[in-house]
């Protein structure tokens, strides 16, 4: 028997909503995706597209590694415009203290089955001749990759559509309950299950969610093929990126297939303005040039900002929304949503269909951030 509605309605077609749509459709569900603006036009378009295994916590490692493997499995199917490049990451150590962190990181990754390689100062200089002299070394994680994010979101939405999903663009969800979505044009899309995948906008659809905006800046240069070969990230980033109180910048450079370089990154809390902040931008570029002096001579062609959806414990919210039957969350991916979208989609659909999951889901369940509230 077919009911008039959908099995699932997803609010938001960023990389997370798109991955969820593709995964739901793959599982045979009848899917509707409602996107207020453009596919991948939110944080997804602003992001760097670095698919990266991280070891900030066991839960972060598990989700990033699981997702990275899923991306690598998908790589063969991706269309050329997704610009998937298996360029790997080099975590750059400036001094002996950071080199000690390289060794710790190597053990952590190897213990968990991720192949890595230590680069000493000479090997680092050989791998990336445009880095400044005198750096201590680095850790090469060759299974990391980069993608062009808006096209990746579009690819996933097209996969979902190929399996029967309905996609509505330019129409916002104004109310999302476990029974369906009310849209800005007044219509109602009924569904058995609903998913809030609206990124930084998710608290507007589900009031009370502790998802805050964390602003970031990026710069893209003209085409300089061969200037950088791997995604390069300073290890100091680990110290700075997790400070919740101050504005931070870090050296983070990515080679694009076009020969362009994406230069990041900055993190700011409590800023709502989308404008480029020249002070932060200047600090970010200075930091990048400290590591790579030759960057000063290159032309930047564009700079922009975006907002990450940050949760208090830096892990995404994936699963049922406490107190709202049949409403699920897939949001709060902070600076890793491009990486973790495919893992998120799997874990979400596992829960929608009561399937077992490949990794423990508990660390990502939204109930963890509701625990302290006496009202739920």
């Amino acid at each position: 028997m077919t009911s008039p509605g959908y099995d699932v309605v997803i609010a938001g077609a960023g990389i997370v909503g798109a991955a969820c749509a593709a995964e739901c459709a793959r599982a045979g569900m009848r899917v509707a995706v409602i996107e207020a603006a453009l596919i991948g036009g939110g944080a997804t378009a602003a992001g760097m597209g670095h698919i990266v295994v991280m070891d900030d916590s066991e839960a972060q490692f598990a989700l990033t590694r699981y997702s990275q493997v899923l991306w690598n499995e998908l790589a063969g199917e991706l269309t050329p415009d997704v610009e998937f490049e298996a360029c790997g990451t080099i975590w750059v150590a400036a001094d002996d203290e950071e080199m000690a962190e390289v060794w710790r990181k190597k053990k952590y990754y190897e213990d968990r089955g991720v192949p890595v390689e230590i680069l000493d100062a000479r090997a680092l200089a050989g791998a990336e001749p445009n880095l400044r002299h005198g750096l201590a070394g680095g850790l090469l994680v060759s299974c990391d990759s980069v993608i062009y994010t808006p096209c990746a979101a579009r690819f996933l939405i097209e996969q979902a559509q190929g399996r029967g999903a309905t996609v509505r663009l330019g129409c916002a969800v104004v109310e999302l309950t476990g029974r369906g979505a009310r849209l800005s044009d007044g219509s109602f899309v009924p569904a058995d299950l609903t998913v809030n995948a609206a990124g930084t906008w998710s608290p507007m659809l589900t009031p009370g969610l502790d998802v805050r905006k964390r602003k970031g800046h990026l710069v893209i240069t003209d085409r300089y093929p061969g200037f950088v070969h791997h995604q390069l990230v300073e290890l100091g980033y680990l110290k700075s990126a997790h400070t919740l109180t101050t504005d931070t910048v870090a050296f983070n450079v990515q080679p694009r297939r076009t020969g362009q370089l994406l230069i990041g990154s900055s993190r700011q809390f409590g800023v709502e303005e989308t404008e480029v902040d020249p002070g932060i931008l200047g600090r970010m570029i200075d930091r990048a040039c400290e590591y790579m002096p030759g960057l000063r001579a290159l032309s930047a062609i564009r700079t922009w900002t975006g907002f990450r959806a940050a949760t208090p414990d830096k892990l995404p919210l994936i699963g049922p929304c406490p107190g709202h039957e049949n409403l699920f969350l897939a949001t709060g991916h902070e600076g890793l949503g491009i990486t973790t979208a495919p893992g998120t989609a799997r874990l979400l659909v596992d829960q929608l269909l009561s399937r077992p999951s490949a990794i423990p889901i508990e660390p990502y369940l939204p109930s963890r951030v509701y625990q302290e509230s006496p009202h739920v």
Partner: protein, 82 residues
């Protein structure tokens, strides 16, 4: 009579009056195109005042220099067509 400077454009020496812009030297040498677009189309100077970026060439190994904004220097190495 004004001073002359000599520069090397795609391996060939070109001599121009001092103060000439690189774009002028490339034009005098009869070299086209200055550069190629992402899709391989030929490009050359359009605005002559640093705005359009169509006149870019490599100078002394540095890519994407706006030739209309850079005066010729003795011994400069210019490469076009990238």
């Amino acid at each position: 009579m004004s001073e002359k400077v000599s520069l090397v454009i795609n391996g060939a020496t070109v001599t121009v009056p001092e103060g000439s812009m690189v774009s002028a030297a490339v034009a005098i040498a009869g070299v086209t195109p200055f550069r190629r677009s992402v899709r391989g189309e030929p490009r050359g100077p359009l605005c002559g005042m640093g705005i359009c970026f169509e006149c870019r060439v490599s100078i002394d190994g540095r890519a994407h220099c706006r030739s209309c904004q850079i005066p010729c220097r003795e011994g400069m190495e210019v490469r076009t067509g990238d």
